[in-house]
Symmetry: C2
Subunit: 574 residues, 2 copies
């Protein structure tokens, strides 16, 4: 049996760090050579990082990316590297370079461009129309990029019918909860319907609101998963894929039939001879059991936080600890991301703060081994009340004074950030951010919103997971059992303003993530008045979300670029 | 000579206000009928408002828009209305309904979808492939939507070759400085190259960061401008356009030649008989001289501010008055938008505030006839310093204390907003926002950033314009002549941290708006160190801009959705 050896490399590039990304790629090419791989595949846009967004509109950036690719090309003696980069003529393309033994022999242009959710690829790229089949040692290999493989009308079928026995698909596929299963199912379908082996190489790492989870996959032509890369970590896996040794090259005049109504061409590209088949087969690394959902979420939060900080030059973080579940989980994640010496907690009591809150904040800090400061807010808060007294003379106390407390805390954290270079991690969860139960410039003030896309009910699951992973109590039990409160007035509870989270979260999922109609949400069994109130709160708090710090996408629809809502909007669906 | 009478209606819709938008349209149909118009044309997506953004992903919203269109259709007895709406089958389309004497007789789907700048149309819409020519009283009329007319390969040529003598193009075309000239030039080209009359109907009003400036245009087939709607105001204009009376209908078998490589079809649509030609011609309203640039900008700021506030339920605003040019211009704009009784100024002195600043703030308030409050920041500021003293014990005074002052002011304004329902208008200009010379949660705190896209040098021009339009000194002379300062430490000047604005602004334009390379900017004659510094400041302050309030797009590339930059970004172009 003949085989072709393909290495899949999960790099963690940094957007715009062309030299660093180049070095990472060249280093991995060296590793792949040591493994005698015939072909080594890197993620989509591995040269630039993904997504480079409007950097792509800068001609100098595109030029610099081409120069970087050239430098990478020189490192490919004796091996073929498939490397994601930005190609250009009078347009630009999301492209895969075929770098073969020191030469750039072919360029593939992504055909299917995603332009939904977090993706804006039509903003930048022109779609390709050519379907390459690489011939290496008489093995036939198709290449494609990310979205290309998600649809049965995409290039996979064309390439398989044109003789490809393996399709190398390179990706920058962002994580969301359950994404792994969707990918596996899709790749299984694609492999089976085309009787083709597929290698799916994914990027790893955090980039602003996105986390790429790695978890590269190799599926054989029967649709069986035969190898998988690590989740949420850089990795290199190499597999030997059986090939016939005699690929069928479709004669020129028959290619039109394969293309059907598609414009473009099928391109056969002969690569330099490789050492395939003359070496002993690699031992197959059995795919590990995928992570459980709450571990997935936990790891995404840790990686997303670490990468946002490190890639932006931060090594230390500060978190306002209220003794509640949200700030506890954020602190636990921060410690895993950065180490306990790098995280400072701040307890900022007011007259409404309970003894329990203080105890819980301190217990958490002790469990995590982090420094905790206590900075009471009374003096600046009283200062505000005094300054405003003449103007507020005839008014009653209301939400203004609650917001002032939250904003005083926000200012204290920002002052610590300014003075000591600590980034402020905010602690709002998705349930709160969805309904606007948060104070702009108060608890929303900070550089990164770790659990912004984690609904409150899931925050509890992640908390349990933190304790399970640590193998001990990190987040105190009482934090998980007491009723959530903002402690901005006496005896306040979240449920004064909001439905219980067990009710709120499914309504939010239906409305925000699934675009269910009002009647559909009612039909799920919720109270009409409650649903109306939740929808109204979501709609009218868009202005707050627009000024929120970025946070990690965890669900299929996050509250960032994933959901683009007008602030000015009088639509009423109820 | 036979003529066809077309009315162009510049409505100011509110996104999502389907009932309100319907009423506006039905009202204007009534007016057009009184003018004996044969056809009345409304803006692009007049039913939903533009851009509805992710509301379009809600099936219920699309359904409600269809129901609204049906209600509008009933009002079209004796007239044809071209109305922008969202059509749907299994996809959705940016569409124009042809409503003819009570019936919905044809639906056009926009063919060219913009997906650059502020536009995301590929996120939602599928492009159309059909080219209608309406036949009304033997006149032949093409219809198209916005982007469709901007390119010589678009539908205008197809429709003209298919016999159209007039093309009705409906728009939601956002304002930017100089946009009017670009449109006029483009429409002149399109009319001449196709020997076709063009009516260009544009939306008017503010929607979040966009202002639609109206200024509908009618161009005859020689490329001469014969009528124009008001700039920045709702308007209805009606024109009689000469037609041959015997349009040439291209035989079916010859239509393929006109379509060329385009898929799709040419559709002739016969409308109900109208009263064309039996009525005396309308007197032609001569196009007014377009506004000067600084008036354009001024009017865009006023309309954008008024509509953002009114459409979001605000009628009153509060502005921190520093005695400087930025807050003075914002206050002047706010007064024009809302009236002087609706605007409150707040002077918030610190020990670093000069006597001149106070005098200038008070002079401005008097000139504008607005209430001004003085709220010193000492007490809350000292409260912060006291609270932080134990933690800051061993540290030197630095930017932390400056930011604390700015944030104390931000908190005071937000407290006034919470207590009295006034929206806070922020006063940062584009130069500051570009280089991050602003304090998050401090001077950046507020609901709307009026001059966010106005470079500092242009702020002075707008100030002059405010005085000229008022016919008296509104913004005191000294405000325009003194050196800009943040007054956060003794003797501070903006030029301590930044190059002079006369130098900064052209560098920013080259880098931010024009994507010039580093070498190109140097070649403009700027100092290398200065250019490096400016680029570095722009790149590293993206995180601040991401948390800024929305503001009005004034330049070809604003700092909102118009420019989508990664925060995490290590690209260095110098």
């Amino acid at each position: 049996m003949r085989t072709i050896r393909i290495a899949l490399v999960q790099t963690n590039p940094l957007v715009g760090d062309l030299a660093g990304n180049r070095d990472r790629i060249i280093d991995a090419i060296g590793q792949a050579k040591k493994l005698d791989a015939d072909i080594v595949a890197f993620p989509e846009l591995a040269v630039t990082g993904y997504p480079p967004e409007d950097l792509l509109l800068k001609p100098q950036f595109v030029k610099d990316n081409l120069r970087t690719l050239k430098e990478i090309g020189k490192a490919t003696t004796g091996i073929t590297a498939i490397v994601g980069f930005v190609d250009t003529d009078k347009h630009i393309y999301n492209a895969a370079a075929v770098l073969d033994s020191g030469k750039h022999v072919y360029t593939y242009h992504k055909i299917l461009l995603p332009n939904y959710g977090v993706f804006d690829e039509y903003r930048y790229f022109k779609p390709g129309t050519r379907y390459p089949v690489l011939l290496v040692n008489d093995a036939a290999v198709g290449i494609s990029i990310c979205e290309d493989i998600w649809f049965d009308h995409g290039p996979t079928g064309v390439q398989a019918r044109a003789g490809a026995e393996v399709v190398i698909n390179i990706n920058a596929s962002p994580y969301h909860k359950g994404r792994g299963n969707e990918r596996l199912q899709m790749l299984t379908d694609r492999a089976r319907e085309n009787k083709v082996n597929i290698t799916y190489t994914n990027m790893v790492g955090g980039q602003d609101e996105l986390v790429f989870d790695g978890h590269s996959l190799v599926i054989d032509k029967k649709g069986v998963l035969i190898a998988a890369g690590s989740q949420f970590e850089e990795d290199l896996i190499a597999v030997d894929i059986p090939v016939s040794g005699q690929p069928h090259i479709v004669p020129l005049k028959e290619r039109g039939k394969i293309l059907g109504s598609r414009p473009g061409s099928i391109d056969y590209v002969t690569l330099a001879k490789k050492a395939t088949g003359k070496k002993p087969l690699l031992p197959l690394r059995k795919p590990e059991k995928p992570l459980m959902v709450c571990e997935e979420v936990h790891n995404a939060l840790v990686l997303g936080t670490r990468d946002y900080l490190y890639k932006n030059g931060f090594t230390t973080a500060v978190i306002g600890l209220s003794g509640g579940i949200d700030s506890s989980v954020v602190a636990a994640v921060a410690v895993e991301a950065l180490g306990s010496k790098q995280v400072t907690g701040v307890f900022m009591p007011s007259p409404y703060s309970s003894k329990e809150s203080e105890e819980d904040a301190y217990a958490l800090a002790e469990n995590l081994g982090i420094t905790i400061l206590t900075i009471p807010i009374d003096q600046p808060f009283d200062g505000f009340l005094n300054a405003l007294r003449p103007v507020f003379a005839e008014t009653a106390t209301d939400v203004t004074e609650e917001n002032l407390q939250a904003r005083t805390r926000g200012n204290i954290l920002m002052a610590l950030s300014n003075k000591f270079g600590w980034i402020v991690l905010t602690t709002g969860n998705k349930s709160e951010m969805s309904v606007g139960y948060a104070t702009l410039y108060g608890d929303m003030a900070g550089g990164f919103a770790v659990i912004k896309d984690v609904p409150k009910t899931m925050v509890y699951e992640v908390a349990e997971c933190c304790n399970r992973i640590a193998g001990r109590i990190v987040i105190p039990k009482r934090v998980m059992t007491k009723a959530p409160t903002a402690e901005l007035r006496p005896d306040q509870k979240d449920t004064d303003a909001l439905p219980p989270y067990e009710e709120l979260d499914p309504i939010l999922k239906a409305y925000v993530e699934d675009d269910r109609t009002f009647d559909e949400i009612l039909a799920m069994g919720f109270d009409r008045k409650t649903v109306e109130r939740v929808i109204r709160l979501v709609d009218k708090s868009e202005y707050k979300r627009r000024q929120a710090p970025p946070g990690i996408k965890i669900t299929p629809r996050a509250l960032g670029r994933d959901r683009r809502f007008p602030i000015t909007n009088r639509y009423k669906s109820y």
